[in-house]
């Protein structure tokens, strides 16, 4: 029996103490002391273990980043001396999209490799912007054999990056009458991508590449940033080139099996030259989701040319570029997917989506909207303890010294994060009754959208919505 794909994880504790969410307010003067029932020893997540050990060395109050907010310590303290407080610094990290909770849970997943839990359950709003205005349909959760990571049935997360033939044709002797190109497959619908900002030290890039190689995925990397000693990662690199400079990298293009060229009008003419440099090269075109481009039409036109994958880019918060009223990536993906379906080319090519993918659920939701896979960037930095403080953009020192990260440690953290994300994907796919990530593509029947639900449930009672609601 072939071995099932699995991502092995190993705990990688943080090098710098992360910005924790909670701390306890303890009125220790009232502590019974001799009750022998101290809730600190009873914590199921053992969060007080380290805290207790170095209490005498602390220079300032410590916030416990591994706390899962179950509040057991507060409920069970025999003297009631515990209260929970939120770290004021915690509220200030990240931004409106990359929220403190996203950063904190990403650190936790990169540390443990496990699925994050929330002891107090979900206490957020019912609906939010962007991906938070759609829900996945978990109605098949009752199937025990397909029960995500614990089920007997294997759930396949493979996707293809190479072009598929429109149809097969056979000669009279039964042999194939069409050219079938080699299939390029990756075991996970997640690719890596060089972030727009951050510290591009060799250690950082090597961490990302090593993790990509370990889990069998690929990483988009500017061709100019591929150092000579990175050539050993050949198959894991997707060099980013432009029409005017791709001919400067013949050695690199002969080593890799996929390349991405930046979109510009008339780019189709260069595909032939690219493939002449390496006949098995899978060609991706990077298209910015900019308001001044008719990206759906561009994608349709490109899909008819000799290329394999469309890689669409939104900004780091998943928004349309160059727009005062930006659309969210889920709506843009839906347009592109449906335009390709109308043009009858969707089955032949692949779509990768970038921008705004910061949680495991965003991968599945992007696929539902029509992508084959996603490319992540900032999550890789966050996995390596980045706080998205932006100090590096002003040439200030990095609070977690990313420039000196050991590639082995960095890749371990990224691998852990991918292990946790894949397990969450499996749980979602299992609950949706699907055994293939590829079957989820464009499968909006497995999702519920706030706008639709509202129309179906409340419009018959209250009529049309009078005030527009911004759900991204």
């Amino acid at each position: 029996m072939p071995q099932k794909y699995n991502i092995s994880t190993n705990a990688a504790p943080p090098r710098f103490y992360p910005v924790g969410k909670y701390s306890t307010i303890e009125f220790r003067e009232n502590c019974a002391g001799s009750c022998k029932e101290c809730v600190k020893n009873k914590c199921v997540y053992d969060i007080f273990k380290d805290n207790y050990l170095h209490m005498s060395k602390m220079e300032e109050p410590e916030y416990l980043y591994t706390c899962n907010s179950c509040f057991r310590c507060i409920q069970e303290c025999t003297k009631g001396i515990f209260s929970r407080v939120v770290n004021p610094e915690y509220r200030e990290i990240g931004d409106a999209y990359w929220t403190p909770d996203v950063l904190n849970r990403t650190w936790y997943q990169a540390h443990t490799g496990g699925i994050p839990v929330s002891g107090a359950g979900y206490r957020g709003p019912f609906v939010g912007k962007g991906f938070d205005s759609m829900w996945t349909d978990m109605s098949e959760i009752v199937r025990p054999t397909r029960d995500g990571i614990h089920g007997r049935e294997y759930i396949n997360t493979c996707i293809e990056l190479s072009r598929r033939p429109e149809r097969l044709a056979f000669k009279e002797d039964g042999s194939l009458d069409v050219e079938v190109k080699p299939i390029l497959e990756i075991p996970l619908p997640i690719l890596f991508q060089q972030p727009d900002f951050g510290i591009y030290s060799k250690g950082v890039l090597l961490s990302m590449l090593t993790a990509a190689q370990t889990i069998g995925t690929k990483m988009f990397l500017k061709a100019a940033d591929v150092y000579e000693d990175m050539m050993c990662f050949g198959k894991s690199i997707i060099p980013l080139v432009k029409k005017e400079n791709f001919e400067n990298y013949p050695k690199l293009l002969s080593l890799v099996d996929m390349v991405e060229i930046e979109y510009e009008p008339g780019i189709e003419k260069t595909f032939g030259t690219l493939k002449a440099m390496n006949k098995d090269l899978v060609v991706s075109v990077g298209i910015p989701l900019s308001a001044d481009l008719d990206y759906a039409k561009i994608c349709v036109d490109l899909s008819k040319a000799d290329m394999d994958t469309l890689h669409v880019y939104a900004d780091s918060q998943g928004r349309e570029l160059n727009s005062d009223t930006p659309r969210f990536i889920k709506d843009m993906l839906r347009d592109i997917h449906l335009a390709l379906v109308d043009a009858a080319t969707r089955q032949q090519i692949n779509i990768l989506a970038s921008g705004g993918i910061c949680m495991a659920e965003h991968v599945n939701k992007s696929i539902i909207c029509g992508a084959d896979g996603v490319a992540i960037d900032l999550s890789l930095l966050v996995a390596m303890e980045c706080r998205l403080c932006g100090r590096c953009m002003n040439d200030l020192s990095c609070p977690v010294e990313l420039e000196s990260i050991d590639p082995e440690y960095g890749s371990n953290r990224i691998t852990n994060l991918m292990g946790a994300w894949r397990n969450q994907m499996l749980e979602m796919l299992g609950a949706m009754g699907l055994r293939e990530a590829r079957r989820l593509r464009g499968e909006v029947g497995r999702s519920m959208w706030f706008e639709d639900l509202e129309k179906e449930s409340f419009a018959p009672i209250f009529g049309e919505r009078k005030v527009s609601i911004d759900v991204g």
Partner: protein, 134 residues
């Protein structure tokens, strides 16, 4: 005793009792530690601040009746009182540790507190523990 270098000040404060404004820390090198509640100040944190080189430590707490955790500022006062006795016992002068009830909006009073603390260091002198090790 004269202070040759810029005095170092460590300021512990709860969310409701302090908000930094321009030129608040003129004339000193300050480290601020923001806490969700002033009762998170433990005796060990205050002593560590002196060990780390602070010439003076100021704890700003909200009013006794305004504490969100009911007894936070009262507890903080008790702990500061306890650490003051330790400082006197070891000959470091308890005057270099003080606690005040303030509100974040009253930046004028906070600035006065900081300037008074810096001025008082002229008579108290620099952190003797640090000089001893140097």
């Amino acid at each position: 005793m004269n202070i040759n270098n810029t005095p170092k000040l460590t300021l512990f404060h709860c969310l409701n009792s302090f908000e930094e404004t321009a030129s608040m820390f003129d004339g000193c090198e300050a480290k601020t530690i923001k806490m969700a509640c002033s009762s998170m100040t433990k005796d060990v944190h205050l002593l560590r601040a002196f060990e780390a080189g602070a010439d003076a430590v100021v704890v700003l707490v909200c009013s006794n009746k305004g504490c969100r955790y009911a007894e936070g500022s009262i507890r903080a006062k008790k702990r500061v009182g306890y650490v003051k006795t330790i400082l006197d016992d070891i000959g470091m002068d308890s005057k270099r540790l003080n606690i005040f009830n303030t509100t974040a909006k009253d930046s004028g009073s906070i600035k006065d507190i900081i300037q008074d603390t810096i001025a008082s260091l002229e008579t108290i002198g620099p952190n003797p523990a640090l000089n001893h090790f140097n």
